[in-house]
């Protein structure tokens, strides 16, 4: 969606127009869901997160600074909420066994695969490589190497400095590479 149209919808939403806000939800729902799913690796948690994020956005719409992209602000809220959730919850180690299954199927995954299978495999894969990562490193890895955001945008989203982002990303990559080596050797 164009930035101008988004800004118009935000102005209307600030005045209490729920229809305008519904348009915003439709436009940014998938972004929030995908990021939440990649961070939390749980379908229901990611769905809950979508609801919580949009309710928070509705309540804090007055605090939005139009100088920044709306998507950056959404990323920031989602990351903060996922960070809290990641810190509070501990993933069960069941994923370690399943992850091998997921990696075996990277090559053979077809476009016709069912939605649940895709989600499951993706979850297993992410969990296998990032489960032991601290929440901060995981967020930086997802934003940088998966969402492919620029360092400046990650700085705005996470509130970390460029140096901190670099070091967190280095540690995350090292951990994942170590996992890959352990798997293939």
């Amino acid at each position: 969606m164009e930035q101008e149209k988004v800004q118009k919808l935000i102005v209307c939403s600030k005045q209490g127009d729920t229809k305008a806000f519904e348009m915003l939800i439709i436009a940014f729902q998938s972004l929030v869901f995908q990021l939440s799913y990649r961070l939390l690796c749980d379908y229901d948690d990611a769905k809950d997160m979508v609801q919580e994020v949009f309710i928070k956005i509705w309540l804090q719409l007055d605090k939005y600074n139009p100088r920044y992209k709306f998507s950056t602000w959404i990323y920031k809220i989602t990351c903060n909420m996922c960070y809290d959730r990641l810190r509070s919850m501990r993933h069960s180690p069941e994923s370690n066994g399943i992850s091998l299954f997921a990696i075996e199927h990277i090559a053979v995954l077809s476009d016709n695969a069912e939605i649940s299978l895709i989600n499951r495999e993706l979850k297993d894969l992410i969990l296998y490589f990032t489960d032991k990562l601290p929440a901060k490193q995981k967020i930086v890895f997802i934003l940088s190497d998966i969402e492919e955001l620029e360092t400046k945008e990650i700085e705005k989203i996470t509130g970390l400095s460029a140096g901190q982002i670099k070091s967190n990303l280095h540690l995350a990559r090292k951990h994942i590479k170590h996992k890959i080596n352990a798997l293939t050797s």
């Binding site: 729920t18 806000f21 939800i25 439709i26 939605i115 895709i118 989600n119 993706l122 994942i176 798997l183």
Partner: protein, 129 residues
């Protein structure tokens, strides 16, 4: 499992290429909207309560100020002794009524004198005729 070499780029590339799929996004949107409309309604209710509270508070403050003003004014008046009060009263009161009475009395006096003169004059005239 095949013992083939998997690189970091392959793993990240795969995760990037496969987007998690949200089943029934319309339902999720509706759920969010239901909650938001509930919040919006509650906000309106709270707004009315807040405005009413503010108005009542303002009226209460005004009444309190009025009461305080009256109390201070009365207490200041009651602090003056009776003697002072009476003295102050004597100084301030202007007696205008007796002046009027005096004027009326003088006028009446003049009138009576005139009548008396007129009667004397009439008697004198009759006598001469």
């Amino acid at each position: 499992m095949e013992n083939k070499k998997i690189t970091y780029e392959e793993i990240t590339g795969y995760i990037r290429s496969v987007s998690p799929v949200l089943e029934n996004p319309e339902e999720l949107t509706q759920n969010v909207m239901i909650q938001i409309e509930r919040i919006a309604k509650n906000r309106k209710k709270h707004k009315i309560i807040r405005v009413t509270g503010l108005l009542s508070g303002a009226v209460a403050c005004l009444l309190l100020c009025l009461l305080a003003y009256e109390t201070i004014r009365l207490s200041a008046y009651s602090n003056i002794s009776d003697a002072t009060r009476i003295h102050a009263g004597d100084e301030n009161v202007k007696f205008s009524k007796p002046d009027i009475e005096k004027t009326i009395r003088e006028k009446l006096k003049n009138k009576k004198q005139k009548e008396r003169i007129y009667t004397l004059y009439s008697a004198y005239k009759q006598k001469n005729n």
